[in-house]
Amino acid sequence: MAKEIFMPKLSSTMETGTILQWLKNEGDPVEMGEPVFEVMSDKINIEVEAYEEGVLLKKYYEVDEVVPVNTVVGYIGEENEEVPDTAPAGEEEKAEEPVSEAIEENTLETTTDKTDTSKVRATPAARRAAKEKGVSLFEVTGTGPKQRIHQDDVHLHAEEDGQQELKASPLARKWAEADNVNLENVEGSGPRNKIYTRDLTSQSEQIDEPERVPMQGIRKVVADRMTESASNVPHVTLYSDIDMTEAIRLRSQLQDKMVEKTGYKLSYTEIIAKAVAVTLKRHPYLNASLNEEKNEIILHQEVNIGIAVATEQGLVVPVVSKTDQKGFTELVKETKQLGESARKQQLQPNQMQGGTFTISNLGMYAVDGFTPIINQPEAAILGVGRMKETPVGVNGNIELRPMMAFSLSFDHRIVDGAPAAAFLTDLKHALESPYELLM
């Protein structure tokens, strides 16, 4: 019996997965535990392993196709075993979630794919005629029972088609005339090879074509999530410059021990994370998320800080769980290891789940401040700019202090300006008196 390969549900919020690549071809032998394809959820790329040993019999989806979770994406079984031609609809989700609708829509879409003529009702003679004349059976109207296409239908279609001859947009015709281009030598990029002006430019002059990078993988996820957050959530951003004199001192005092103990350096990110975590305990509405469906605000008991990491593929946010309860040693180890995994693209789904607040640190760049976009469904995000020596007034004197630019974007639906400002003020205090963090 051939066994189904399902699109895995890698997290509680995952509804669809995008197939990034197939690691096996149809007909390839597959060992149990061998990766079969790579999938990207809203959070992560992961290789899906085979639960069976056998031969990959069928792939129903191509790279970049978005597939609902629990949908059959392929089959593993014995060589030459019969499997359905089209992907069976997903089952498990149907009863409980509205996802089922998406599944049905999706399968419908794939079966009516215009390039797949195997599902057209046509006689063998009609197929032969269509092949000879280069006619797509999808465009032919069948006159037989149940719209079956007969040979004559193809001939008629080809005749009608022939009368229109060369297809080109009116502008393309004029342009071609002006430039003295013979349209017959131009390959059209439109439907049924219709020629547009863009086809003429590539013909008449050499242009350095821009590189076109497909929006896929993490890039696409980031794009979707940012658009959603930026357009749906009323963002307000508060700014504060924080004096890091004491934090620098704390760091330098702990540094040697830290390296000795963990092999990693203590960085400001961890100090800030710790300060944020401790402060959040006193500001539950900043450590919250909104459930729009149920119209309720969820105040999280755990403080799980997500730390934005830039990778070659794009932005990912690994989560340090229970940040407030961890000491610096633990925090440094965990943060550094998560960062490494992220850059190697080896993060597991659970390492990116459960975040309640996000920190985005651009301090290593010449950035003095920015307005971060909230990582939905969290209530707020902290943007960290660079530290620079700035003249500030201290007790009537002007002193140069290492000031760091902080910006807090919050969801005004969940929390108002004053409580958010109170949080930022408390955070400022925590960072300016970091020894209290050790209490």
């Binding site: 006689t123 003679a125 032969r128 029972p145 004559d152």
Partner: protein
Amino acid sequence: MRELTYVEALREMMSQEMRENENVFLMGEDIGVYGGAFGVTRGMIEEFGPERVRNTPISEAGITGSAIGSALTGMQPIVELQFSDFITIAMDQLANQAAKLRYMYGGKGNVPMVLRTPAGSGTGAAAQHSQSLEAWVAHIPGLKVVQPSTAYDAKGLLKAAIDDPNPVIFYEHKLLYKTSSEDVPEEPYSIPLGQADVKREGEDVTIIATTVMVHRALEAAKSLAEEGISVEVIDPRSIVPLDEETIIQSVIKTNRVVVAHEAVKRGGYGGEIASMITESEAFDFLDAPVKRLGASPVPVPYNPELEKAMTPQTEDLIRAVKDTLNRE
């Protein structure tokens, strides 16, 4: 030209052969003075005597077994079974002896016999005397199966059957005995087994029909021609061996095909022909599903109207042709 009935053509061929070839003799029930159940051998005992026109007891297995034995010794017997339904009694002799001996003896022995027998319904002879069981014998490798539909074909095919060194089951049709052809030459002639005959040329649909169905197909073709539908009628004449090439070329030309026989459709030889077509190069030329016509899967009723209703008639052929053309 010379007009002759189907019965006369058969009798003439047997007589001519017996005059020339002393190894040929006849065996069967009541084929002597009575002239056989349908009068095919009438008058032959007078010319050839009881040694060569041998009346036998009522035992199909016995007659057939004797014929096989004499054929092995070099004789060329022609057996007549009164009704082809009784071939079931001779089945062991045919399937396990006649069909096998040449093969099992590595060609050291032949069974050059002909078994003539009338098949088909339409005479009110009821369930045990009206069947068309040609698919039974066609299934056995080693037997050849011939089904002439006209007097002309009957004479030429019978000559080929007598000359063939293998056992040949020669199906005659009760309704065709009195039909005549206008151009039956007096001198002996042979129509090779496995050579189909295009009974009518056409462009739109091919009907492949056997025995009595050939005539209904020709009637249907005539009637359809008035509506502008051009039908080609092919008579395979022998189903083993089958002239596949003629059928395939016709289907490639017309793109549509109806296979019609009087035998029950279920398990009938029409299924074999239809499958052969779809397996052949003609597949890519099919513009409609291959249509099969055959009798309903019921015993032949003892009631003239029901008997007609269970077997394909001219109107059924006309409808089938129109079906393949998507026309009402």
